[in-house]
Symmetry: C2
Subunit: 401 residues, 2 copies
């Protein structure tokens, strides 16, 4: 039970009941399609008359279509209802330091068009690039009702102003993406942190019934998106869920955040590279050549490990160990149903997964049955998250009271 927020509440009007029931209908159709009006009434407990009125409205608004009649052992055949997947177009934008992807998706996050381009280092230039590409995408796909644009960003977004506060890997500070994109397209724009987007993707397009989950993105750093009770945890200022910077090692190695021993210093891709370099470089040569890391990428380590390089395998095992340490902590503290891992590590899951599982099992004796799953990069979790971002505006529970 939630406490009502007296600084930001929503009273009920005469249309509130319809809004609530309409969203429930939409979700039931999404989940159970094809489904008849009679079954909708049974699932929901609403009267058949009420269901009919709502469904008629949804059909008129093109959210739902009526398909072929179904079969019934006795009695009149039901008329099957489907979500009108084709009608609704959602644009997703995944901004990453090197590359930005822009895509057009339907309600099930099936991508109908997709293109990538290199992310300009200058935010103004980047926005200009996006503008023309968005225009182009919309123009080449007419006859679609665009419901909105979702954007995944590698940085923190201020909850109130919806501005990008800081994106370390882009070097951008205090950028307003929402306003120019809305002006350029006339569509509502939703911004979200990449880890949060991944969590939303899992919530809306992942396993059915999972309402408590944590997404952990592993790349140069570690990001985390926490969903509890079917809802993204944001905190008052939108800076909750930053588990990448919890202290894992007392008085450990310095982190770019200014602290020491952060999780991401020990379990990110960069950490694996560092482990490898430390293992292969003698103390003396480390003193001489200053930045040996620059020449090695995490992909190189993965490739070396695949080729059987023992030091590369050790580096990855160390990284996996510390991933497990952090994940075990998340499980003990928040007992999610699922933890999804996003990033290059998932390509090596056969060796990384068991190490993580072992640590987690050892540390959760009474143990919540949390599943730890890698995401298939082909599913494009960040991009799918941007679709979820827009989808939830229509399918999410209404903001009431």
């Amino acid at each position: 039970m939630r406490k009502i927020d007296l600084t930001n509440f929503q009273v009920a009007t005469s249309e509130t009941a319809r809004d609530i029931n309409r969203r429930i209908m939409l979700n039931l159709i999404r989940r159970h399609q094809p489904i008849s009006r009679a079954d909708l009434a049974r699932y929901s407990g609403l009267q058949r008359s009420t269901v009919s009125v709502i469904v008629d409205q949804l059909i008129k608004e093109k959210w739902v279509t009526e398909g072929a009649s179904g079969h019934a052992p006795r009695g009149r055949k039901p008329r099957f209802l489907y979500l009108n997947r084709d009608r609704v177009g959602i644009i997703g934008i995944n901004v990453r330091p090197a590359m930005t992807t822009i895509a057009l998706a339907d309600l099930d996050a099936n991508f109908m068009a997709q293109e990538s381009f290199s992310t300009a280092s200058n935010p103004e230039q980047f926005i200009a690039d996006l503008r023309t590409r968005l225009r182009n995408l919309i123009d080449t796909h007419p006859g679609i009702a665009y419901e909105g644009i979702g954007v995944s960003l590698p940085g923190r977004i201020d909850l109130a102003s919806q501005r990008l506060v800081f994106a370390p890997n882009l070097g951008w500070r205090d950028v307003d993406l929402k306003t120019p994109l809305e002006e350029a397209t006339g569509l509502p724009v939703e911004l979200e942190n990449a880890a949060n987007a991944c969590a939303l993707a899992e919530l809306w397009f992942g396993r059915e019934g999972v309402r408590n989950l944590i997404a952990v993105t592993v790349s140069e750093g570690i990001g985390s998106g926490v969903i509890l009770g079917g809802q993204l945890v944001r905190g008052s200022n939108g800076l909750a869920g930053e588990f990448g910077h919890i202290t894992i090692v007392e008085e450990g190695i310095e982190c770019r955040c200014g602290n020491r021993g952060c999780w991401e210093v020990y379990a990110s891709n960069s950490a694996a590279v560092r482990y490898y370099v430390q293992a292969t470089t003698s103390a003396r040569s480390r003193m001489e050549s200053r930045t040996p890391e620059a020449s090695l990428s995490f992909d190189d380590i993965l490739r070396l490990a695949d080729q059987g390089d023992p030091k590369a395998n050790e580096a990855i095992a160390s990284m996996a160990h510390y991933l497990g340490v952090g994940i075990a902590l998340l499980i003990t503290g928040l007992a999610p149903d699922v933890i999804v891992l996003v990033g290059e590590v998932t390509r090596f899951w056969g060796r990384i997964g068991p190490i993580i599982e072992q640590i987690v099992r050892r540390r959760n004796v009474t143990g919540a049955p949390t599943r730890i799953v890698p995401t298939d990069p082909a599913m494009q979790p960040r991009l799918r998250g941007t679709i979820a971002l827009v989808l939830q505006k229509h399918f999410g529970a209404p903001e009431v009271a």
Copy 2:
């Protein structure tokens, strides 16, 4: 925005709008009393006519009373409305290993009656004791509309069955408290873990506007109650928010949970006792006398520290250090507005607080402005939490969609 749970949703009926607005009115009156109908309309955005109907209903149901007229610079005087504090009685039961307290409170958690008795070691006997005391309490306070009973328990409660799964310090397993108490009194009974109860007490009776907070109870072990977005975090099985058993020290001391290095092994009262004993006992004598801890309590350590005993002070400093380590982690990860500390440590806050603050400040460079506050034991946080437990059923947001 929350995803609708299709396994457990609530459709809207024609009365849903009233339910929502009624709860908003109750909360506005609670927050702003004395307040006129006109002001309620202004605060809520509802029409004055609608407000009048709802207020009439609340007055008829005795939730609200009409008091004296107020003053206005011009125009008709407003008729002030108050929450009818006296009418509603809530019974709170705080079960602790040694002692159980039972109390009668009004809507503001002011206690009108209160009694304590030693907790029977046998659950059946305990329930029988409670039964007679509850009967007695209700009989001696007639003319009160009892809204329900809230119970705080030192253990884990299963979300579905509402049974006490396990209470380590009581030695109870799988006890049903709800059914016998409901049968004995005819009142609805709400059970909650003690740390969660403390968190609820802070949410409902603490600082206004705080919707993200964590309660940390420090006694023999460490418990935690997490409230995010004005809502208790429970997880699928009600076992979320158990931060007492996160690993703080790698390969550390064994915990009674079977794991090693848990937070509560390093930051609980028992930890302080252990630190003191280790510092004052030579290795040899430790071998000889097996359980020197048994003779010392945390209260003793506090007393010794107060008298200036350096080893006692060191023991407490160590405990405070590890409290800070865990709290810093909670702040980094969940960015709550407030962390409340409950337990004997608060009596020594003048020395413990600064140590915690120092660690937290050091580890949160970009830092969320989380306040770390001790609870005054006189406020009886657990007991007040039981009142909040019942209060929120009427004042909380309705379960809809």
